[in-house]
């Protein structure tokens, strides 16, 4: 696709114009398609635009929305924005949830820039994953907020980031184990990966919420948020392991042999020679997997947690603002879309950049 747009950009203006004209009205089929699509757009777009913009109510209360009639009630989103963003987190402590959210966004921003990839980034991730939950809990100083009261965007981002970070080391071990010459270890890894990839995420979530508490010694308990986080991390690890395995397979055998010839041990070979190349090769699929994880965090609704989608949904059950589900869902969809669309565009940009780097390396 990128090659096609590049070609189009390089072509002279008149050439592009001719292509556009041919595409729209160049043949009888294309004329028919153009009319069909135009009809479809003219049929679907005006009602949506009328609902979302022309007839929409931007300010006021539920009564104003009801009086205005058929348009969207964006005043509802304006009124409930804080609840949708932070859920049942105590309102006077919203600055903490906001700061946690900003820290996580900053972490993602730093991670996105290839110039920062390195050991220091790992330390940063460790610090963020320790700091953000402590900040949300209010530990060691400040008012304590239990995880049941966490909600909204900070929960969605923390679930996704925590699961990815937790899954990563496990996935590398699983991928190495699956390619190991040790039959027993290989068997264990294959069972783990294939079972988790064969069942829906909900089954893993139920195992973590219904079953796991029964497996602990009587009287002890583990926090529900943590259980959901670990369930998500284990689930992600199985998929991540397969992506990493793809990267390991892409490393030429000569690299292993060269490392062996230098007398490096298995772990040093992997850490210094094989994994840096293997992981580099799978960065774009990793970003796509991360987008999938971000969307999969919504499933925690089923075990009664308040992630962003759930707070948006629950905001429409407020007795003062009853039943504005459509507005809530459209708003939530917009937020998810912006995050995921940016990430997928980033993945394309990164792919092009890494491919360019590869070319100059082999060429030079």
């Amino acid at each position: 696709m990128s090659a096609m747009t590049e070609e189009a950009a390089l072509a002279p203006r008149s050439e592009r114009w001719r292509k556009l004209r041919d595409g729209l009205v160049g043949s009888r089929t294309n004329i028919a398609i153009t009319f069909g699509v135009a009809f479809l757009i003219l049929w679907l777009a005006p009602p949506f635009l009328r609902w979302s913009i022309v007839d929409a109510v931007w300010q006021g209360d539920a009564a104003a929305c009801a009086a205005a009639g058929t348009g969207a009630c964006w005043a509802f989103i304006g009124e409930k924005l804080r609840f949708i963003t932070f859920g049942f987190y105590p309102p006077h402590l919203h600055w903490r949830a906001g700061l946690a959210l900003l820290l996580m966004l900053a972490l993602l921003g730093v991670t996105a820039w290839p110039g920062y990839w390195g050991r220091r980034l790992l330390i940063l991730w460790g610090a963020a994953l320790l700091g953000v939950p402590l900040l949300l809990l209010g530990w060691p100083a400040g008012e304590f907020v239990p995880t049941e009261r966490w909600g909204g965007l900070p929960v969605t981002f923390l679930l996704a980031i925590g699961a990815f970070a937790g899954a990563f080391p496990l996935a590398i071990l699983l991928a190495l184990g699956r390619r190991s010459t040790m039959g027993g270890v290989r068997l264990l890894c294959i069972i783990f990966i294939e079972v988790l990839r064969g069942v829906p995420f909900i089954a893993v979530l139920y195992a973590a919420t219904l079953l796991f508490p029964l497996m602990l010694p009587a009287g002890s308990a583990i926090d529900k948020f943590l259980r959901a986080e670990v369930a998500l991390a284990l689930f992600v690890a199985a998929y991540l392991a397969e992506v990493v395995r793809g990267g390991l397979q892409a490393v030429p055998a000569g690299q292993y042999e060269a490392a062996k010839a230098l007398g490096l041990s298995y772990w040093r070979t992997m850490r210094l020679v094989v994994l840096p190349q293997a992981l580099r090769a799978v960065i774009p699929p990793l970003v796509n997997l991360a987008i999938g994880i971000f969307q999969d965090t919504t499933l925690v609704i089923i075990i009664g947690m308040f992630d962003f989608l759930n707070t948006a949904r629950v905001s429409a059950t407020d007795p003062n603002w009853l039943g504005f589900y459509r507005e809530a869902y459209v708003f939530a969809a917009l937020v998810y879309f912006i995050v995921c669309f940016c990430a997928s565009r980033y993945s394309l940009w990164l792919e092009a950049r890494l491919a360019a780097g590869q070319r100059t390396q082999t060429g030079g």
Binding site: L20, D22, G23, L24, G26, T29, N30, I33, T34, V37, A38, L40, I41, S180, T181, M182, G183, G184, V185, R186, L188, V195, G198, V199, P200, F201, I202, A203, Y206, A207, L210, L211, L214, M215, L216, P217, A218, I291, Q295, D296, T298, L299, I301, I302, L309, R313, Y325, R326, Y329, A332, A333, Y336, F337, C340, F341, S344
Partner: protein, 401 residues
């Protein structure tokens, strides 16, 4: 990498007992470390299992599948087999499994049709069409599936009631009680006529295929006409004897709609969400598959004077399918697994009913084991079916070359 069998054949000298030798070779290096890992994993499971048995005993439960025969005292909204609240848990779980299979199967078929059409449309030379499909794919892929399910569910529950039901097509009624479609009338004759029509058409189709393989020649138009004639023949014979096949149209009766086939709003919301979501990924797969066929194939087709449709059907798609089918398999697998999101909108699928079972009986371990085994079995079934299909295409390639 280096197969143990060939190594073993190459190594001279006395050979040990075959099985033990194969086992130790498979087990590989560091046998004791591996045994230790197994011991730790086993110990962990034993510990958790011990706690589980202990905790269940404390509330008066014994692990085991005996509860499956007990009466499940909950209602299920819809199902393919008869069920009432007094029936056993096993029957309730079967109803759930059949609902999962029903929505997955319908979803896979519809998503394939829509996805292939969108994938081809995405490659259209008309920028308006390809951009529209691109926007569709981007919107669908960049929003969570659960959100889409909620959206369709809210939309279908906001439809007017049965008395003001929408009728987009004659005989189709859409209301907040469900979607009603015309269906074969259950009058004793119609099902028999249509079944014989179907069987005869399949028989003729199989015979034509066998002939085409033997002679190496086939005529698409003539075959289609023959199959159509075979399907019409039983209907014509029945009509000659005065028995016409009847269609049962849904119609308003009192405060509800009767007749035809009805599908609940939850089922439709889940089905549409799964179809829309999966069609976007299938469209991308199909597009990539078609692009993987070299441009020379198109040029050769055009040089032979074939039309766009024939080039696509006879030359490009058969080659693209080899790239498409393996990826399609994983799309089908994820659709089947994603159907478990039904629990969020209250459609009684397998996960929903097992969740209720776990909550009413307390047998969480057994319920989750059944859940995992059922999905593993479904995944395996889809994989086996798709691999068989894939092999057919691979074989065809070899015989053509």
């Amino acid at each position: 990498m280096n197969s143990p069998a060939s190594l073993q054949a190459a190594v001279p000298g006395p050979k040990g007992p075959g099985f033990v030798r194969a086992l130790t070779e498979w087990w590989g290096e560091k046998p004791l470390t591996q045994l230790a890992i197994f011991a730790i994993v086993g110990l962990g499971f034993a510990l958790l299992g011990g706690n589980l048995v202990h905790n269940m005993a404390r509330v008066g439960l014994t692990p085991g599948f005996g509860f499956l025969g007990h009466a499940a005292n909950f209602e299920i909204g819809e199902g393919l087999i008869a069920y009432s609240a007094g029936d056993s848990y096993l029957r309730a779980i079967t109803v759930g499994l059949l609902n999962t299979v029903r929505v997955s199967l319908a979803g896979c078929i519809l998503a394939t049709i829509l996805g292939v059409a969108l994938g081809i449309a995405r490659l259209s030379s008309n920028p308006l069409l390809s951009r529209l499909v691109q926007a569709y794919v981007e919107i669908v892929r960049n929003t969570p599936l659960l959100l889409q399910i909620f959206f369709w569910n809210a939309l279908f529950h906001a439809l007017p009631g049965p008395r003001q039901a929408l009728a987009p097509l004659p005989g189709v009624l859409l209301s907040n009680r469900g979607f009603f479609f015309p269906f074969i009338a259950d009058d004793g004759v119609t099902p028999a006529i249509l079944t014989s029509s179907f069987l005869l058409a399949v028989l003729v189709g199989a015979a034509l295929k066998w002939r085409a393989r033997r002679t190496g020649r086939s005529n698409f138009k003539r075959s289609a006409a023959l199959i159509l004639a075979a399907a019409i023949l039983p209907v014509a014979i029945a009509a000659a004897f005065g028995a016409t096949p009847a269609i049962d149209l849904p119609r308003l009766a009192g405060f509800n709609i009767r007749g035809g086939i009805s599908l609940s709003p939850e089922f439709m919301a889940l089905l549409i969400a799964l179809v829309v979501n999966t069609s976007a990924s299938i469209a991308e797969t199909v597009r990539a598959g078609i692009l993987s066929v070299s441009a020379g194939q198109w040029e050769a087709g055009r040089a032979l004077g074939l039309s766009y449709g024939r080039i696509m059907r006879l030359i490009v798609l058969p080659q693209a399918l080899r790239v498409i089918i393996p990826v399609m398999t994983s799309s089908y697998l994820s659709l089947t697994k994603n159907s478990s999101l039904a629990v969020a909108i209250g459609f009684p699928d397998l996960v929903n009913i097992l969740n209720t079972t776990a909550n009413t009986t307390g047998q969480a371990l057994e319920a989750i084991l059944v859940m995992m085994l059922a999905y593993l079995a479904l995944s395996l079934a889809v994989s086996i079916a798709m691999n068989a299909y894939n092999r057919r295409w691979a074989l065809r390639e070899r015989s053509a070359a």
